[in-house]
Amino acid sequence: MAERISYDVKPPKIGPDAHEELERLLQTLHEHGILRFANDLAAANTHVAKVLVDGLNKEGTLNAIQNISILGMALSRIPPEQFYKVAFALKDAFTHVSTYKLEEKGTEAPGVTGAYKMLHDDALWQAITPIIEGLKIFAERLDKEVDKPISEFTGKPSSA
């Protein structure tokens, strides 16, 4: 009589496993030429990188990258709620300008009386004052020499 022995059943496979998924992915990448491109790129990586670096080292490229960065840096300093207000005010202003119809509002100049009335138009002055203040700050900032944007930005001097 054979002795009683135990046997652990191997669980059946349900659905594709990772290897099968990978095979499918490889086939798709192959059919669409992506693998071929990746191979080409990998084989030529030094040359491609050299082209990139050469392009990167051009004054115009560096300026562009730095300027985009400056925009990013400026944007990073504006609280979103302020930027929202300004951005949407500009958006509304643009909308208004683009839909302005001369025929409806008339085209004649205000004249001296009209200008005098404008000087007493509180609503108009309320609208213009922030723009004038902004222009003053803008002019002040333009007067300030910037040697190194990151030092200006962080306040930390650097001779690096």
């Binding site: 990188a49 560096l62 990258i65 730095q66 960065s69 190194k148 944007p149 930005f153 930390k156 690096a160």
Partner: protein
């Protein structure tokens, strides 16, 4: 943790509780707070050079690395401290160019990169400035780039105070300070022994393994003409966008390198110190060996071999397919065919000529589990006790001496005990070359704690130069001075009479045996002046704790067991056993020569030193293995030495040798080769086609330690696990698996699928290994046998008595016997021999890749200046050395390491090798050949002189520059510079300090 060692500190306004009197940095780390630092290292302490860890305490700025925790300590890292930290880092960055994404070192453990990232540096204050020095590539293993060096001094501290090779320094009074080798600018030609300590601790890429260069990262191998403009472009952008976006890229780079880098704990496969470390690999490429503080035997220490000599692993000459001898050639074979052939032939020979017609030599470099399987096949399947290992050639005499006197065949304590000893005596051991990491520990104990050291040796080696007292002894006379010391102890009241009375047998008999060993006799025979003998005796007698280390200079003699016994007797007489900092320490030569014996590759012992001739023991092992006791032989087998002799005489018909180069390392190699050719069947299992394998009928490709799992036992009796770093190369297989498969083909299907199962089996049978398991050896954990079933181990032996029948030590009477071979009128010079630091045994491992070999490629003989003058020899003069067995021709090295008519030759190089000269005379107690007793004749040959037998770039020609250390001698010079200013001010020339 007891309450008295706890404290609460206030850090940045937060109360933190933890251990008192530990470094603040470590304390904070335990609370997941990282106080930025660069030069501080757990193994080196506070060097105070980087100026990055500033904190404010009691209103003053102090370096945080210097603080130790204490109750109530209040520390702030904010405000002024933060400003000072950033200034410190800015000064570092004036000396180090950050190009981390294209730097090989950005693999995750670059302290500098990680600290810069942690500190969120917006932009570096000072421009990086180059130093007027070139990158040094002159060492075969590592480079030094002064432009990247931040002058933190970690390397200097490691070299001066951990390795204590005392090569590196920084002179901050120079206009452009840099790391110096022997005070000079080049590594080659300095005293640098390439131990790698400096590279291990370097916090950046200034000191970097060549194996990391150039492709440790995906972008690091691009050519310099591409790298340089890329770095320049990024630096330009950084002026506008600041450092954080660039640092973010380098952090990403560090992260995406991680999946392809594997870090695996392994244990060194060279000497018996048992260094463990992480091996960093990418696929099969070994990027670097990185020691860690947690490693129990070595900490951050390594030698040149452990750190750098791994080129053999991927060497194209590795055996990857079984080979079968056919028609006078080897042909490749499948594993099935090869193993079937081995199984069939061994069983045939057993059945035809009897079990004792087959001999096995296990490997002192393979694992414990593999040693166990080797003896299990020999004993259980073949039925012979003829199984041995290379300890026969080196360590058995030492073990015999310990068996006779105190009972256990292993070191009495740990490396820590050696460090604690008030006095260490080193006899017949070139420790700094053969066990370099233990030598470093002792050099450090001497340098920092005033440990005294006596060295007894015919050759003035490094330890002799450093010794408190060096006794240049005539070869083969060590038993005399050791016994004379014992007698002196009794005669002058230094013997520990209370200890002797309570714990030692045969005291009177032993004392009587000392009668002939007067100081006058000792002086006459050993050549050591009486005054020196007395000085040594007083040092031993007065010391509170004494350790004796000895090695092949004692054991490889015709009476090495007696001399080992004499040394142990001296320890017993002075009561130097069973206390911290005491005991006998035979220095085991191979990584697992201790384990091969411990796990049963001995002709008379089962694993755990259980005697084959003891019926109860035999019954125990037979029961465990499931056979009746009669199936196991109770007859002591043949050892290596006698197996070869028996093969020569036709008594042994088949041999199975695993990982041993017997054809090169056994004495009188001509006779060994003759014996091998007479075997009916010969199996060799190895990683290379060794000289021994050339005689084989079947060659089985095994694996080095990095391609398998297992355990080793080091010289301390410390059992450590090693893990698979990479899969076996080609069709090679782990040796334990080969042996398991072979046993199955011989009708014994043991079914091991992992070495842990083999260890579990041993732990269930051998008493001293009860309680051992792979779980208890996980990671950096280790155990020192003898074990107890509950898992407790025994770092220090004999604290509860001795391992003898009645628990008492034995003083073993001895008489001096003349060596079997001595000089005479014809063979008038004595030839000493031994290992060189940079090589290992037959060089089967160390000559691969040629980096190690480049340090000392040539064979040579060292002669004393007196002998050179007497025989008209100069450096490079060719000589013929003729012994009573054979002759070799080599160039000479004239050196004051030697004196008089004693020569020295390394054991590694040479096609015929040193054993062309050595003889079969041996210690009759243990059959260890007396390699060190070789008399030779020297003839000067009329040949053109050999240019630089030891290349002049070799470290042996260096001139060390000892320093107390960075905190005391180096950094203070920096602080005294005129341009060194407070960390709250801007420095005028931060690139210079």
């Amino acid at each position: 943790m007891s309450k008295t060692t706890e404290c609460t500190i206030i850090y940045d306004g937060k109360a933190l509780s933890g251990q008192a009197d530990i470094p603040l940095i470590e304390f904070l780390a335990e609370h997941d707070i990282h106080l930025s630092h660069v030069c501080y290292h757990r193994a080196l302490g506070a060097l105070q050079t980087c100026d990055v860890c500033w904190v404010e305490k009691d209103g003053e700025l102090v370096r945080g690395c210097t603080l130790r925790t204490a109750e109530g300590m209040t520390v702030s890292s904010e405000g002024r401290a933060r400003e000072a930290q950033h200034e410190g880092m800015d000064r570092i960055l004036a000396k180090h160019e950050l190009y981390c994404t294209v730097c090989e070192h950005n693999t995750g453990d670059c302290t500098l990169h990680n600290t810069v990232a942690d500190m969120h540096i917006p932009i570096q204050r000072y421009k990086f400035q180059r130093k007027p020095y070139e990158k040094d590539h002159s060492n075969p293993f590592y480079t030094y780039d002064p432009d990247q060096c931040i002058l933190c001094g970690r390397c200097v501290e490691a070299c001066q105070n951990v390795e204590v090779n005392e090569t590196l320094s920084i002179d901050f009074s120079m206009e452009h300070p840099r790391v110096l080798w022997d005070g000079d600018e080049k590594i080659e030609g300095s005293s640098c022994v390439s131990c790698g300590h400096c590279v291990t601790v370097c916090p950046c890429n200034a000191l970097l393994e060549k194996t990391m260069q150039p492709d440790a990262g995906p972008f690091t191998s691009m050519p310099q003409e591409l790298k340089r403009p890329m770095i320049d472009a990024i630096k330009t952008l950084e002026n506008t966008i600041g450092a954080p976006p660039i640092t973010a890229i380098s952090v990403m780079d560090m992260k995406w390198r991680q999946p392809e880098i594997k870090r695996t704990k392994t244990v060194c496969t060279y000497c018996g110190v048992g260094c463990s470390f992480e091996m960093w690999t990418r696929e099969r490429h070994i990027l670097k060996v990185q020691p860690v503080v947690e490693a129990p035997a070595n900490g951050i220490s390594t030698c040149v071999k452990g750190k750098f000599a791994w080129d053999f692993v991927n060497d194209p000459k590795r055996l990857t397919t079984p080979l079968i001898r056919e028609n006078g050639r080897f042909r490749e074979a499948s594993w099935g065919e090869a193993l079937d052939l081995v199984a069939r032939r061994l069983l045939e020979i057993r059945d035809t000529h009897g079990p004792d017609s087959i001999g096995f030599i296990g490997s002192s470099k393979a694992s414990n589990e593999e040693a166990y399987l080797t003896q299990k096949i020999a004993r259980l399947i073949i039925g012979t006790n003829s199984v041995d290992n290379s300890s026969r050639y080196c360590q058995n005499p030492a073990t015999k001496g310990l068996f006779r006197t105190v009972g256990h065949g292993g070191d009495s304590g740990t490396i820590e005990d050696l460090q604690k000893a008030e006095l260490v005596i080193i006899v017949g051991s070139n420790m700094s070359e053969n066990h370099p990491v233990i030598a470093s520990k002792l050099k450090a104990a001497q340098k920092h704690h005033g440990q005294k050291m006596i060295v007894v040796d015919p050759r003035r080696n490094e330890m002799a130069e450093r010794a408190t007292l060096f006794l240049r002894v005539k070869p083969s006379t060590d038993l005399i001075w050791a016994s004379a010391m014992s007698r002196y102890m009794f005669d002058h009241g230094y013997a520990n009479m209370a200890f002797l009375a309570s714990q030692v047998n045969q005291v009177d008999e032993y004392r009587r045996s000392l009668e002939p060993f007067t100081l006058a006799f000792a002086e006459q025979m050993t050549g050591i002046p009486q005054a020196q003998l007395i000085e040594a005796a007083k040092m031993i007698g007065k010391a509170k704790s004494v350790c004796i280390c000895w090695a092949m200079g004692i054991t490889q003699h015709s009476h090495g067991a007696d001399t080992s016994t004499a040394l142990s007797n001296l320890l017993v007489v002075t009561g130097n056993y069973g206390k911290p900092g005491t005991g006998g320490y035979p220095m085991r030569g191979h990584n697992n020569v201790q384990g091969a014996s411990d796990f049963g590759c001995l002709k008379n012992m089962y694993p755990g030193y259980e005697k084959v001739s003891d019926d109860q023991v035999r019954a125990k092992w037979a029961k465990a293995w499931g056979v009746p006791p009669e199936k196991l032989s109770d007859k002591v087998g043949q050892d290596n030495f006698l197996m070869v002799q028996d093969a020569d005489e036709g008594k042994i018909k088949a041999m199975y040798i695993i990982g041993e180069e017997t054809a090169f390392s056994d004495a009188n190699s001509t006779n060994v080769h003759d014996a091998f050719t007479k075997l009916d069947f010969f199996v060799v299992q190895d990683i290379f086609l060794s000289r021994t394998a050339e005689f084989a009928d079947v060659v089985l490709p095994g694996c080095p330690s990095v391609e398998k799992e297992g355990t080793f036992v080091n010289t301390e009796r410390r059992i450590q696990r090693f893990y698979e770093v990479m899969p076996p190369l080609g069709d090679s297989r782990p040796d334990w698996r080969i042996l398991t498969d072979l046993a199955a083909r011989m009708g014994h299907d043991w079914g091991y699928t992992h070495p842990s199962q083999i260890m579990d089996e041993v732990a269930g049978i051998a008493t001293i290994f009860n309680g051992i398991s792979y779980e208890r050896l996980e990671g950096w954990k280790s155990l020192l046998w003898p074990m107890k079933p509950d898992g407790t181990d025994t770092p220090l032996l004999y604290t509860d008595g001795f391992h003898t029948d009645d628990g008492r030590a034995v003083l073993y009477p001895l008489e001096w016997k003349a060596p079997e071979e001595d000089t005479d009128a014809e063979y008038d010079l004595m030839l000493d021999n031994g290992r060189m630091l940079e090589h290992f045994q037959s060089m089967n491992q160390t000559d691969k890749g040629h980096r190690v070999t480049s340090l000392s490629p040539n064979w040579f003989v060292e002669v004393s200046p007196e002998l050179a003058a007497e025989r008209g020899m100069e450096e490079g003069t060719w000589v013929r050395l003729t012994s009573r067995r054979g002759l070799v021709e080599v160039p000479v090295v004239v050196t004051d390491r030697m004196k008089g008519h004693v020569l020295f030759m390394p054991i590694h190089q040479g096609k015929p090798g040193l054993n062309k000269l050595t003889g079969e005379h041996h210690d009759p107690d243990v059959n260890t050949p007396a390699y060190k007793e070789t008399a030779v004749r020297l003839e000067v040959l009329p040949k053109e002189k050999f240019n630089q037998p030891i290349p002049h770039g070799n470290f042996r020609y260096g001139n060390r520059t000892p320093l107390d250390g960075v905190p005391t001698q180096v950094v203070e010079v920096k602080w005294e510079r005129e341009d060194y200013v407070s960390p709250l001010e801007q420095a005028p020339h931060p690139e210079r300090f």
